[in-house]
């Protein structure tokens, strides 16, 4: 039975630069990179399986998780490994592949998931590297194939600023999406939940999905965050494991079984106020953004983000799209001084509080930059985070438990139910400019270390 859950708390940040629902004509990326830092918890260092100048095919293993060696990450494209970039303490930051014009694939074999056993499915996913798309809560890391999750969740809409429209992205891909769902159904003894937006015209691809539980949600961001949805449908208790994916990941899984290959093409939305014509691009996972942004930017000093402006990762002008990302945001850098900025009326400033007159114009679209608009302070204001976190959790108390490293308290206050992205709005609205997402990650890592 379809449940509809109405969420009231949250905030939609109206940014300028939404992607037009059209696919840009040509896009070729000459390089493609896999970044081990995209995979939380694989640190300190994954085990490399390739060297510079090695030739790889799409689906060739690149590296694996030392803690869980069965989880391997494979190349999304074929080509020659041009360089392995190392960062601080020799940690691998990028494995860059010079992409072949015509991608060659390793054949993992076509199969109908309905006829396969769970073991066969897990094996197919693991050896192709597609397993990495399945992530788990708690901890927000790649799922453990040994677990039997109590449920699998797919959020079929993204409410983050300028986020791509999944209905547009999955259009016409119903068959392969269903194959992906068939795979997931085999992986859990519980339900597969597909969460859609109640008040939008949702794609047939989602509505016609079979063997899954469809739930409807209404409300502002973060209603589209899977963590929020899990909390309202089947909350995570101590000891529970829940897996989650995006619809794009489900399609990649579907293609693995339909075509027998790791087909890493996916639609990426190029968004943000600094982009001249924001559109959708057909790209590979890990593609370079260089060609996408070339002569497509307004004058100025831009910041490039793989992902959305709340949770994404800062990348350079020739950087690569992250493994899990399906959006590139380009916004202005905020490296300027502003004369008595806190005192001016601020008609162009966006604030969740109503201390700027801009709250009188709710429809207005904003061009926001990366300035902090202040300095970090101790907590003074209370009740602010609660307004943008639609969960039965006391966010500030949880964060204080993390700051003091109190693991019992973190468990009691719901650390297992949260991930960084769920607290991104808390970080955005914070008057004291506290780095909330970093703290949540610190808490998750601490609890994971202590409980394993």
């Amino acid at each position: 039975m379809t449940k509809t859950i109405h969420l009231k708390k949250g905030l939609n940040i109206n940014l300028a630069g939404e992607a037009e629902k059209a696919i840009a004509n040509v896009f070729t990326s000459s390089t493609c990179a896999m970044m081990p830092t995209d995979f939380m918890g694989m640190s300190p260092l994954p085990k490399l399986l390739v060297q510079e100048n090695d030739e790889v095919q799409a689906g060739s293993p690149l590296f694996f998780d030392k803690k869980r060696p069965e989880i391997i990450i494979t190349a999304p494209v074929s080509g020659k490994i041009s360089s392995i970039v190392r960062g601080d303490k020799r940690a691998i930051s990028e494995i860059i592949i010079n992409t072949d014009k015509d991608v060659s694939y390793i054949n993992f074999g076509q199969a109908n998931p309905k006829e396969l056993s769970r073991e066969q499915i897990v094996d197919q996913l693991l050896k192709s590297g597609v397993w990495a798309f399945i992530r788990q809560r708690p901890y927000n890391i790649i799922a453990d194939p040994k677990d039997n999750p109590k449920a699998i969740f797919i959020s079929a809409f993204d409410t983050a600023p300028l986020s791509p429209d999944f209905d547009f992205v999955v259009h016409g891909k119903g068959d392969v999406f269903q194959i992906g769902l068939d795979v997931l159904v085999k992986l859990t003894s519980g339900k597969v939940h597909l969460n859609i937006q109640a008040d939008e015209t949702v794609s047939k691809v989602f509505i016609n999905s079979k063997d899954v539980q469809i739930n409807k949600f209404t409300g502002p961001h973060p209603a589209g965050n899977v963590g929020i949805q899990i909390h309202h449908i089947d909350p995570i208790n101590k000891g529970d494991v829940v897996w989650y994916l995006t619809p794009l990941d489900v399609i990649t899984i579907g293609r693995l079984f339909q075509k027998g290959i790791f087909d890493a093409t996916r639609m990426v939305a190029l968004t943000g106020s600094e982009v001249k014509s924001p559109k959708y691009y057909k790209a590979f996972i890990g593609a370079s953004i260089k060609n996408m942004i070339e002569s497509n930017l307004h004058e100025g000093h831009p910041r490039f983000i793989s992902g959305n402006v709340l949770t994404g990762k800062k990348i350079s002008a020739d950087g690569h799209i992250g493994f899990y990302d399906y959006q590139v945001s380009v916004i202005p850098e905020g490296d300027y001084f502003e004369f008595i900025g806190w005192a001016l009326p601020g008609f162009n400033k966006f604030s969740f509080s109503r201390s700027f007159p801009s709250f009188l114009f709710p429809k207005k679209k904003y061009k926001l930059d990366t300035n902090y608009h202040g300095e970090e302070r101790a907590y003074v204001v209370s009740g602010q985070y609660e307004k943008v976190l639609p969960m039965d959790i006391y966010p500030v108390h949880l964060i204080k438990a993390i700051i003091t490293g109190n693991i019992d308290k973190m468990e009691q206050l719901g650390i297992y139910e949260v991930a960084e992205e769920d607290f991104a709005l808390c970080e955005f609205v914070c008057t004291s400019k506290i780095e909330v997402q970093k703290l949540i990650r610190k808490g998750l890592n601490l609890v994971r270390k202590e409980t394993e």
Binding site: V309, F356, D369, G374, E375, V396
Partner: protein, 386 residues
């Protein structure tokens, strides 16, 4: 603007580590960030941030205090001339002399409060290597508004120093304090210098001897209900009292501003007023003495009740921090303020003590509210596991 920035950039090195004036680094930072919002950009987490910061928040509270302050300035002059029996013939006379008189009385209070308080804040920030927190910008305005107009400046200075050092800095500065610093200053004055803080002689500036000068609270405590001003006068604030506390109307204007901007908690304000009114009504029911029989709503417009409800109880640091907790906290403040007023003749103003009392209890209230959340989570686990 460019030229101010150039000057700041030029002198900056001497305030940084190794510079001649490095012992003033926190002070320099405070002033330069006051003039220019820094060019810091996000490096982790959310790439965009809300335009609000503590400077903005505190500015909003100060703006909300303006009606009470302006009315207070006028009223100090008004009460003074009234007690001397001055006749004012023209509208012009009604305002200008009173405002000038009031301003000359109040301005020194504000200056002393800010100079002493900020001086200590800057010194502590420098010693601890912290940035100067904006919290005192509001405390520094609150303190002059809750003292009698004739308070000797040295007393105000000592009380301010006490509030900032013992009330705030020993706990670790703004955000860490248990008690509301401004109220602590008021409580310090009340207990250390009772003669200058209570009785009938302090509430009207340079009062003529022939006039009583008692505040409505004092009249009520003494049982002189015949001398009480009209409710309208009390609401509008044409009564003797602390500088900014007399006009409920001016305070409510500030409250509306705080609620619209979303800076102060509406929950707390409403529950304080509700608590006070309910307790007043309960006393009306009991009705064993004249004070109990006083109309319940009088409590809300007398003394510091409204000011406390709007500006003191809503202090997010010393108050309850959970939404449920805020309702309980506010309600109990209202109840106890009226309880202390009516039943304890030693303290005519119950509001100050009531808020300080529940500042102390706020963490306990939150503890139980958060405890309920923890229990909900535990219960859920058990149901599923069994």
């Amino acid at each position: 603007m460019k030229f101010i920035k150039n000057i700041l950039d030029k002198v900056e090195p001497s305030f940084r580590k190794g510079g001649k004036l490095s012992f003033l680094e926190s002070t320099f930072d405070a002033f330069s960030t006051f003039l220019f919002v820094p060019n810091h950009t996000t490096h982790s987490g959310a790439h965009i941030r809300d335009a609000i910061d503590l400077k903005r928040t505190m500015t909003m509270v100060i703006l909300a205090l303006m009606p009470a302050l302006l009315f207070g300035i006028w009223n100090v002059g008004h009460q003074h001339y009234l007690s001397h029996g001055h006749e004012f013939n023209s509208i012009f006379d009604m305002f200008l002399p009173k405002i000038i008189y009031g301003f000359l009385k109040i301005f020194p209070l504000i200056v002393v409060s800010y100079v002493v308080g900020l001086g200590i804040e800057f010194a502590f920030a420098q010693i601890n290597g912290h940035k100067v927190n904006e919290g005192y910008l509001v405390s520094g305005m609150l303190i002059p508004l809750i003292v009698p107009p004739d308070i000797p400046l040295w007393m105000l200075a000592i009380a301010t120093a006490f509030a900032v050092i013992i009330g705030k800095e020993v706990f670790g500065g703004t955000g860490m304090n248990v008690f509301n610093p401004a109220l602590l200053a008021r409580a310090f004055l009340f207990f250390a210098y009772p003669a200058s803080m209570s009785g009938d002689n302090v509430w009207i500036s340079e009062k003529a001897d022939a006039v009583s000068g008692a505040t409505p609270l004092a009249e009520a405590a003494a049982g002189n209900f015949g001398n009480m001003p009209s409710p309208l006068d009390m609401f509008l604030g044409f009564i003797p009292g602390s500088v900014g506390e007399t006009s409920t109307l001016a305070i409510l204007l500030g409250a509306v501003f705080l609620i619209i901007t979303g800076i102060a908690s509406l929950r707390i304000m409403i529950s304080v007023f509700t608590g006070g009114l309910m307790m007043g009504l309960l006393f009306n029911l009991l009705g064993t003495n004249a004070y109990m029989n006083m109309p319940a709503y009088y409590h809300l417009i007398m003394g510091g009740f409204a000011f406390g409800a709007v500006f003191m109880a809503t202090d997010p640091v010393s108050g309850s921090q959970t939404n449920t907790g805020k309702i309980i906290y506010g309600f109990l403040i209202g109840v106890f303020a009226v309880l202390i007023r009516v039943l304890n003749p030693a303290y005519p103003e119950g509001m100050m003590l009531s808020i300080l009392l529940f500042n102390a209890f706020a963490p306990l209230i939150d503890h139980y509210v958060v405890g309920a959340n923890i229990n909900r989570r535990l219960k859920r686990t058990k149901i599923i596991k069994s």
